[in-house]
């Protein structure tokens, strides 16, 4: 009657058992399975969920003093299926819950509006959780650089922008939204 380790179930013969090639095969395969379990854990730690989407061309038009959800055209990186630009080009949908460092940034082109302030918001399921506003210098630029968010699977992360000034609409030449998990629940 073979024995078995308590956690990973590696089978080994006990005293009096017949030891043939099948016993060695089970033993070897079980050890490989155990090592693969360890490999998977290490790979998971080294590749924590992270995604970034950005948009540059075409530009996104935003009218004056109106909070507007930013949209993206390019998936820069995504190892947890958080981005799906073909279906929803304005968001990252969290797949694995945990603590994330998130960020967003926006920049406008010059010449279409005179911008006196530029704001970028991070929203979770439609509620603003971080907001940053900067003065404009003809053009506008604002960013939220890596803030922590306690996110659950299914949460929708988006970024909004708003500008004040004259003229317009303003054309957003660069948009970016990022989320990277740093700790598990």
């Amino acid at each position: 009657m073979p024995g078995m380790t308590p956690v990973l179930g590696i089978r080994y013969p006990c005293s009096g058992d017949t030891i043939d090639s099948s016993v060695f095969a089970n033993f070897t395969n079980d050890i490989q399975a155990a090592l693969l379990t360890g490999d998977a854990a290490v790979a998971s730690a080294a590749n924590r969920p992270a995604a970034q989407v950005q948009g540059e061309t075409p530009t996104q038009s935003v009218v004056i003093n109106t909070a507007t959800v930013m949209t993206y055209t390019t998936e820069v990186f995504d190892n947890d299926d958080m981005a799906d630009i073909a279906v929803n080009n304005d968001r990252l949908t969290i797949v694995t819950g945990g603590l994330y460092l998130c960020g967003a940034q926006v920049t406008t082109l010059t010449g279409f509006a005179t911008i006196s302030s530029m704001t970028v918001n991070l929203t979770v399921n439609g509620t603003t959780v971080y907001r940053y506003k900067t003065p404009g210098f003809g053009f506008g630029s604002a960013q939220i650089n890596r803030v922590p968010l306690d996110l659950n699977a299914g949460d929708i992360l988006r970024a909004e922008t708003r500008w004040t000034g004259t003229g317009g609409p303003a054309n957003l030449s660069y948009r970016e939204l990022t989320a990277e998990m740093i700790a598990s629940h």
């Binding site: 024995g3 380790t5 308590p6 956690v7 990973l8 590696i10 089978r11 080994y12 013969p13 006990c14 005293s15 009096g16 058992d17 030891i19 016993v23 033993f27 079980d30 050890i31 155990a34 090592l35 379990t37 360890g38 854990a41 290490v42 998971s44 730690a45 924590r48 603590l99 460092l101 704001t119 971080y130 907001r131 940053y132 506003k133 003065p135 939220i144 650089n145 890596r146 803030v147 922590p148 306690d150 740093i182 700790a183 598990s184 629940h185």
Partner: protein, 213 residues
């Protein structure tokens, strides 16, 4: 039976043929122990301490406030130590502050400042009360300009700090304190509500470095 020098992995010798069963049991148990230990290390790596505090404070014109951070509103395996604002594990921390300042009236001519201080421990550090507050260093500072009665104005800053520990104490504490103020340049009397988020997330220790030979 012999054992390897580094990991004590058993190895049969010629006279151990009858000990196959015992050999395989020993090897299986050792492989399991190593893999389980590695899994635990990975779990520890992912389950790092994090604390997030939220506050809401109303300030009158020309005033400022400081104080303990109090109890975190969100924690991940946080080790509060003596004071909830202490970073009591050696290594790198990502710390930051976000504050939205919302005016009760559209009075212009004021600005807001937020600072996050990190205290260095004294050489004879015993507890939080012995921290050398004279040596407090503002590691983060941000300021914003005029009032806003609709969405408020925002302060946001973050950085990575390192808690060096000491040769005798690998878990030495450094303290964190949030200070924000409202300076009024005009004769305004409006109140400003500061809604703030402060955080500290442990990123990891530094590898041991041996100097000399």
């Amino acid at each position: 039976m012999r054992f390897t020098t580094n990991h004590d992995i058993p190895c049969l010798e010629n006279e151990d043929y009858a000990g196959f069963a015992l050999y395989m049991q020993c090897l299986a148990e050792q492989v399991e122990a190593r893999v389980v230990a590695d899994q635990a290390a990975v779990t520890t790596f992912l389950e790092r301490p994090v604390a997030i505090w939220t506050q809401s404070t109303v300030l009158a014109a020309g005033s400022s406030t400081t104080g303990p951070l109090g109890t975190p509103t969100t924690t991940y395996r946080w080790i509060p130590g003596v004071n909830n604002g202490t970073l009591n594990i050696r290594g790198f921390w990502h710390i930051g502050v976000y504050s939205n300042a919302l005016s009760s009236a559209p009075v212009v001519g004021n600005h807001r400042t937020a600072m996050l201080y990190v205290w260095q421990p004294e050489a004879t550090f015993q507890d939080i009360n012995a921290l050398d507050t004279d040596a407090a260093v503002a590691v983060l500072q941000d300021a914003t300009w005029e009032s806003n009665t609709t969405n408020g104005e925002d302060l946001l800053s973050s950085m990575v700090v390192y808690n060096p520990g000491t040769p005798l104490r690998t878990e030495t504490e450094i303290g964190m304190q949030f200070i924000f103020g409202l300076a009024t340049e005009a004769a305004g009397v409006e109140n400003v509500t500061f809604t703030s988020t402060i955080w500290a997330a442990y990123l990891g220790d530094t590898p041991n470095i041996a100097l000399g030979s």
